[in-house]
């Protein structure tokens, strides 16, 4: 079994859209994610998953320049990631197909984690 990382990219507007969501819509969103992640966990293929807050700093120039961002309007940001195991890249892609990101114009990047052993 190989390891893969799914990187969730979403439009910045989606991250801020959460602030406008109704409680009922938030609950529905949680249930969608729980169903998808629960399905992968039930197969014993989930290593871990987390969300990233839509805030932070970007450091450049040897760490000397620290800016807020890079979250400008209209840009995509990384909203979260998942680590999972799968037999192949194809299987990892198959597992990623149910990701609720796709319901809100998101993108999922599926990347094999290099095994150096």
């Amino acid at each position: 079994m190989d390891k893969f990382m799914l990187v969730f990219h979403s439009p910045y507007s989606q991250e801020t859209a959460f602030m406008e969501m109704s409680p009922e819509a938030m609950q529905a969103e949680i249930q969608k994610w729980n169903t998808w992640i629960g399905g992968i966990a039930a197969q014993g293929k989930l290593i871990g998953t987390d969300a990233l807050a839509p805030v932070g700093k970007t450091m450049t120039k040897g760490g000397q320049v620290i800016t807020d961002g890079p979250f400008t309007e209209g840009k995509e940001i990384v909203g979260g990631y998942m680590l999972l195991t799968a037999a192949s890249l194809d299987e990892a892609v198959e597992l990623a197909k149910g990701c609720p990101m796709f319901d809100s114009d998101g993108t999922v990047e599926v990347r094999p984690i290099i095994n150096f052993e």
Binding site: F18, P23, Q27, E29, I30, Q31, W33, I37, A51
Partner: protein, 417 residues
Amino acid sequence: MALTGNESNQLVAHLFRHEAGRIASVLTCMFGFDRLDLAEDIVQDTMVQALQSWRFHGVPDNPRAWLYRVARNKALDVVRREKRFREMSTETAYGHQQENADTMQDRYFFDEEITDSQLRMLFAICHPAIGAESQMAMCLKILCGLSVREIAGAFLTTEETIAKRIYRAKEKLRQDGIQLEVPTGAQLLVRLDAVLKSIYLLFSEGYNSSNSDQLIRQDLCEEAMRLCLLLAQTPRTQRPSVDALLALMCFQAARFDARTDANGAIILLADQDRSRWNQTLIQQGHIYLNRSAEGAGPSEYHLEAGIAMLHCIAPTYEATSWSTVLMYYDLLLALKPSPVVALHRAVALAKVEGPQKALIEVANLSGLDAMHHYHAVLGDLYEQCGQVEPARIHYQRAMQLTTSMAEKELLRRKTER
């Protein structure tokens, strides 16, 4: 990082919405009415934090406790930041302004305090000084956790209109210095009447509106019943009229699903499949109606609940105890003289004494000409009398007046009979 195995925890239906309402009430009682917007912001922050975390990590074992802890901590952050403990609004009225943050957090999120906060909020929002439409919008927004968009959808209006209604209510609450408290003594009965009226209006909006979205309409009915249940479960507000209104809403809600077919077309009471009526709700209706039978004479809700109950227990439309229904309508008309009640009474009168007699009664009513239901009843009575042409004219008039597509369709079928 790993999922803790909680992913199988399922959220109770509408948990977010209902907890948002509870937390908003508790926080407003904590901060005072002038900080209602702050309370709403904290609620939204709390819910977003839950969304971010639960989405990936699953639902915690005790979701309510999780939400209360986060909301409380956010509230305490505000309190600490503003250092306004001593100036805390006198509206909190618990007399514990001197308390430190630790004892405060324990006090506000006990079940009793949550219920108490919701009741204070309910009485404040349903203050007679606030317009009925604003009251309904505020109840749904603050107490029931619906968004402005969802409320606009339910009332078939724009978000801007709903936002205005809410704004007006908040202004009124501030200007008139309406207190966040449950009135006592003689005041309680007067204000309770106003609260019940708002709750029933909310229920009727869901039950009778022309909105084709069945789910939204059912939501409004459920929320109205939930608010009434809050009053019925609290000893000092559990009055006979409260139980009677709850009974009435149970009997009506029991028939909710049976009133339309799979295509959304209206099925009249006479033609409904009575096996589709919700027996659990009917049983609950009986329990509350029995409990309501104490104290002074019956309220309008007692009589309306009695009528709704008679329909629920009748094996068929024809076998309904029409003479008792008529008697209840006579009492209701004496208690609340209104042409609309008289119109409903005429339907029962037609069953007991024949359509001719009912036609004469309805002909004497005034002020109903712009009401589609009036013409629908007239059409029906003429039809029963075998007078096809006047029946058709009134059905067509009703068709022009109603905005509901389902109702138009029903009337169209009638004109073609």
